[in-house]
C-alpha cells in the first residue's frame, strides 16, 4: 500500500485531485437541478482546470517567478555570455500562471453573464429549478405551440 502510494499516487497527487474536482464539477453541471448549483459546479470545473495548469508549472525547490534585480542579472549575463546569469530551475514557470490569470478572468465573466441569465429566468419563470422551468415550458407548449 505504502509502495503503491509512493510510486503512483504521490508524484501525481495534484493531478488526481484535479480529476476528482473536475468530475465533481461536471457531475454538478449535468445532474444538479438548481441553476445556481449548476453554476457553482461550473466554477469548480473551471478551477479544477486551473489547478491542473498551475501544477504543470511547478518546480520542486523553486521560488516565485520574480527575479530580484533583473537589470543587474541581465547585465551580468551580458558580460559573461548569455547563459548562466539566471538559473531557470530556481524560478517557477511563469507561462501557466499567465494563462491561468486569463482563465480566471474568463471564468468570472462567464459566471457573471450566467447569473444575469439566471436572474432573467427567475423573472420569467419565477423559479430556478430546472424541472419546474421545463414543466412550465411544456404546459405553455400545449396551450399554444407558437409561443
Amino acid at each position: 500500500m505504502k509502495e503503491f502510494f509512493e510510486t503512483s499516487i504521490e508524484p501525481h497527487f495534484n493531478y488526481w485531485v484535479y480529476v476528482i474536482l473536475m468530475m465533481i464539477g461536471l457531475w454538478a453541471v449535468i445532474a444538479k437541478n438548481n441553476l445556481i448549483k449548476k453554476l457553482i459546479g461550473m466554477s469548480i470545473f473551471q478551477t479544477a482546470i486551473i489547478l491542473f495548469y498551475v501544477s504543470v508549472g511547478v518546480k520542486k525547490g523553486s521560488g516565485i517567478p520574480i527575479i530580484p534585480k533583473a537589470k543587474e542579472a541581465a547585465a551580468g549575463a551580458g558580460e559573461h555570455g548569455a547563459a548562466g546569469a539566471v538559473n531557470p530551475d530556481l524560478f517557477a514557470n511563469p507561462l501557466p500562471h499567465v494563462l491561468m490569470l486569463t482563465a480566471i478572468v474568463v471564468g468570472v465573466s462567464t459566471l457573471g453573464v450566467a447569473l444575469a441569465v439566471a436572474q432573467q429566468l427567475f423573472k420569467d419563470f419565477g423559479t430556478l429549478e430546472e424541472d419546474e422551468i421545463l414543466e412550465q415550458i411544456k404546459t405553455a407548449d400545449k396551450a399554444s405551440p407558437d409561443g
Binding site: F13, L21, H97
Partner: protein
Amino acid sequence: MIPIFDYIILIFMVIAAIISLKVKDLLSASMVFGIYSFLICLLWAEMGAVDVAFTEAAVGAGVSAVFLIATVYNTKRRSSD
C-alpha cells in the same frame, strides 16, 4: 512546497466542493464556495503562483462570491437539491 500542507489543502478543497454542492441553502453554498476559493488560493500561493493566488483571492473568493450572493438575494434562497 511542503507536501503534507499540500495534501491537507487538496483534501479540504474536495470537501469544500462537495459541501457547497450538497448544502440546500444557496447562501451557505455561496459562502462555502468562497471558502473553496480561498483554499485554492492558498494552494497556489504555496505552489509559487503568487499572481494567480492574488487574482483568485480577489476574483474567486471576493467578487464571484458577491455576485452569487447578489443573485441568491434577488431570487430564491432554498434549493431542492
